[in-house]
C-alpha cells in the first residue's frame, strides 16, 4: 500500500517534470519558427480576427459594466470623505493598473484561449496536423506560431479597450447619472494618471498575460490526447491553468511595478 503510494507519487512527479520540459521545448520551438508568422503576416492577421475581433463584444460589454459598478461603488465610498470629485482617478487607476489587464485576460482565456485549444486539439484528433507534416509543412510554423503572435498582439489591445469602455462606464454612472462634476472627473483623472507608471505598466502586464494565455492554450491543444474526452479536458485545463497563472503573474508584476509608488 505504502509502496504503491510512493510509486504513484514518483510516477506523477516524473510525468509533471516531463510535461514542463515538453512545454518549454514547445514554447522555444514556437519562438524559433515564428518567421512564417511575420513573413506571411496574412496568416497572423487571419488569427487576429478570430482571437481579437471576435472577443470584442464580450470585452467591451464587460468593460462597460465593470466601469459602471466602479462608478457606483467608488462614489459611495468617496462621498463619505467628501472626495467624490476624485471618482475619475479611482475609476481610471483601478482599470488601467489592475482590472483592465486582469479581467480582460480572464475573459480572453475563457473566450479565445479555450477556442484555440479546442481548434488545435481537434486538428490533431482529425489528423490535420499529421497531414500537414506529411505535406512537408511544419505545423508549428504554419498553425501554431501565427496563433501565438495573434494572441500576444490582441491581448494588450483588448485590455486597452476594456479600460476605455470601463472609464466610459464610470463616466456614465458618476457624471451623467449621479451628477459628479464633469470637469473635475476628467481633469483629476488626467492629472493623476501617469503614462509611464500606470498606463505603460498596465500594457506590459497585458502583454505578459497574452504570452502566458496563448502559450498555455496552444500547448494544451497540441498535447491533447486525440479523443473527444482528451480535447474537452485540455480545453478545461487551458481556462483553469491560464486563469490561475494570470492571477499569480499579476501579483508578481504588481509587486515589482508599484511597490515604490504612492
Amino acid at each position: 500500500m505504502l509502496r504503491q503510494s510512493i510509486e504513484n507519487l514518483g510516477s506523477r512527479t516524473i510525468q509533471g517534470v516531463w510535461r514542463i520540459g515538453f512545454a518549454t521545448r514547445f514554447f522555444l520551438a514556437v519562438l524559433l519558427h515564428s518567421g512564417t508568422a511575420f513573413r506571411r503576416f496574412g496568416l497572423t492577421i487571419r488569427e487576429l480576427y478570430f482571437t481579437g475581433v471576435l472577443s470584442l463584444i464580450i470585452i467591451l460589454v464587460s468593460g462597460l459594466f465593470v466601469g459602471m459598478v466602479l462608478g457606483l461603488q467608488g462614489y459611495e465610498t468617496l462621498q463619505t470623505y467628501g472626495a467624490e470629485e476624485s471618482l475619475g482617478i479611482l475609476v481610471a487607476l483601478s482599470l488601467v493598473r489592475e482590472l483592465g489587464p486582469v479581467v480582460a485576460a480572464l475573459l480572453f482565456a475563457s473566450r479565445a484561449g479555450s477556442a484555440i485549444t479546442a481548434e488545435i486539439g481537434l486538428m490533431k484528433a482529425t489528423e490535420q496536423l499529421s497531414a500537414m507534416e506529411m505535406m512537408a509543412v511544419d505545423p508549428i510554423a504554419r498553425v501554431v506560431a501565427p496563433r501565438f503572435w495573434a494572441g500576444v498582439i490582441s491581448m494588450p489591445l483588448l485590455a486597452a479597450l476594456f479600460s476605455a469602455m470601463g472609464i466610459f462606464g464610470g463616466y456614465l454612472v458618476g457624471v451623467q447619472l449621479i451628477g459628479v462634476d464633469e470637469g473635475a472627473f476628467w481633469s483629476q483623472m488626467k492629472s493623476a494618471v501617469d503614462f509611464e507608471e500606470d498606463i505603460l505598466n498596465g500594457v506590459i502586464k497585458s502583454v505578459v498575460f497574452g504570452v502566458a494565455i496563448t502559450a498555455i492554450a496552444l500547448f494544451e491543444g497540441y498535447d491533447a490526447p486525440p479523443t473527444a474526452e482528451g480535447v474537452s479536458g485540455a480545453t478545461t485545463r487551458t481556462v483553469v491553468t491560464s486563469s490561475l497563472v494570470v492571477l499569480a503573474l499579476d501579483f508578481v508584476l504588481t509587486a515589482f511595478m508599484f511597490r515604490g509608488i504612492s
Partner: protein, 270 residues
C-alpha cells in the same frame, strides 16, 4: 541511378514504449505497382506507413524510400523527401476551415511560386481526375465521407508525388464509393506512374486492384503474394482473413482466465 524498388523495408522493428508493434518486417514496393498491406486492426499497418513517412523512426532496421534511409534524414531532408510523397489519411484529414479548392491548392501555395492562375488550373485538373471539379467551392463539412476521401486524394497528388500511401481508404464507404475509390487508386497509379501503398483490411475490394499483397500479423509478415496467390492460399491465417471467418489463427476471444474461474463455478466446467 533509379532503383527498381521505390520502398525497401529491411528487418524493421518498432514498439510504443515496452509494447512491440513490429518485430522484423521485410517489404519492398516496386515502382508503378499498387501494393496492399493487410492485417487485422491493431497489427501495426498504420505504424508501417508512419515509418515510411518518417513520422516515427524504427528501433531497428532500415526504411528506404527512393534509396534514402528515412530514419537517418534530418528535418530538412525529411521534408524534401515528403514533397515527393502523398498520403491519404483514413478520414481524409482535410483542413476544415478552408474550401475544397484551397485544400487541394495548399501544397502548391506552400511549396511553389506558381501564379494563382496556374494554381487554379492545376487544382481543377486534380479535382477533375477524382470527379469533383464541380465541388471545388464546397467546404469539407458539406462533403460525404467518400467525397472527402476523393478530395484528400486530389490533395495528395497535387505535387505529382512518386509515392502515395493510403491509410484504410475503404473504411466506412458505401459500395459505390468503395468501387470508385478502388478504381481511382488503380487508374491514378497507372496514369501518373505512381507507386501506391494501400493499408487496408478490405480484402475483396483491394484484391481487385492490387499487384502484390503483404499480410501482417503480430508484428511480422506472415504471407505475401499476388492477388491470385492470396485468393488461392491455404495458409490458415490468410484463409481466415480472406473468407472473414470469426475464429482461427486470430482467435475470437481475447486472452482471459478460464471461463469457469471467472464465473466462480468452483471448478465445474462452463
Amino acid at each position: 541511378m533509379q532503383h527498381d524498388n521505390l520502398v525497401e523495408i529491411e528487418d524493421v522493428a518498432f514498439g510504443y514504449g515496452a509494447r512491440p508493434v513490429l518485430k522484423g518486417i521485410n517489404l519492398t514496393a516496386r515502382r508503378g505497382q499498387v501494393i496492399a498491406i493487410m492485417g487485422s486492426s491493431g497489427c501495426g499497418k498504420t505504424t508501417l506507413l508512419r515509418l515510411i513517412g518518417g513520422q516515427i523512426k524504427p528501433g531497428q532496421g532500415k526504411v528506404r524510400v527512393a534509396g534514402e534511409s528515412v530514419g537517418e534524414l534530418d528535418t530538412a531532408g525529411l521534408y524534401r523527401l515528403r514533397r515527393k510523397m502523398g498520403m491519404l489519411f483514413q478520414f481524409g484529414a482535410l483542413f476544415t476551415d478552408i474550401s475544397v479548392f484551397d485544400n487541394v491548392a495548399f501544397q502548391l501555395r506552400e511549396h511553389t511560386e506558381l501564379p494563382e492562375d496556374a494554381i487554379r488550373d492545376l487544382v481543377l485538373m486534380k479535382l477533375h481526375a477524382v470527379g469533383l471539379r464541380g465541388a471545388a467551392h464546397l467546404m469539407p463539412s458539406e462533403l460525404s465521407g467518400g467525397m472527402a476521401r476523393r478530395v484528400a486524394l486530389a490533395r495528395a497528388i497535387a505535387l505529382d508525388p512518386m509515392l502515395v500511401m493510403y491509410d484504410e481508404p475503404f473504411a466506412g464507404l458505401d459500395p459505390i464509393s468503395l468501387g470508385v475509390t478502388g478504381n481511382l487508386i488503380r487508374r491514378l497509379t497507372d496514369t501518373l506512374g505512381l507507386t501506391s501503398l494501400v493499408v487496408t483490411h478490405d480484402v475483396q475490394e483491394s484484391l481487385k486492384i492490387v499487384d502484390y499483397v503483404y499480410f501482417v500479423s503480430e508484428g511480422v509478415i506472415v504471407a505475401e503474394g499476388t492477388a491470385t496467390e492470396i485468393r488461392n492460399s491455404d495458409l490458415p491465417y490468410v484463409h481466415q482473413f480472406v473468407h472473414g471467418e470469426a475464429d482461427g489463427p486470430v482467435p475470437f476471444h481475447y486472452p482471459a482466465p478460464p471461463y469457469a474461474d471467472d464465473l466462480r463455478l468452483g471448478g465445474q466446467g462452463a
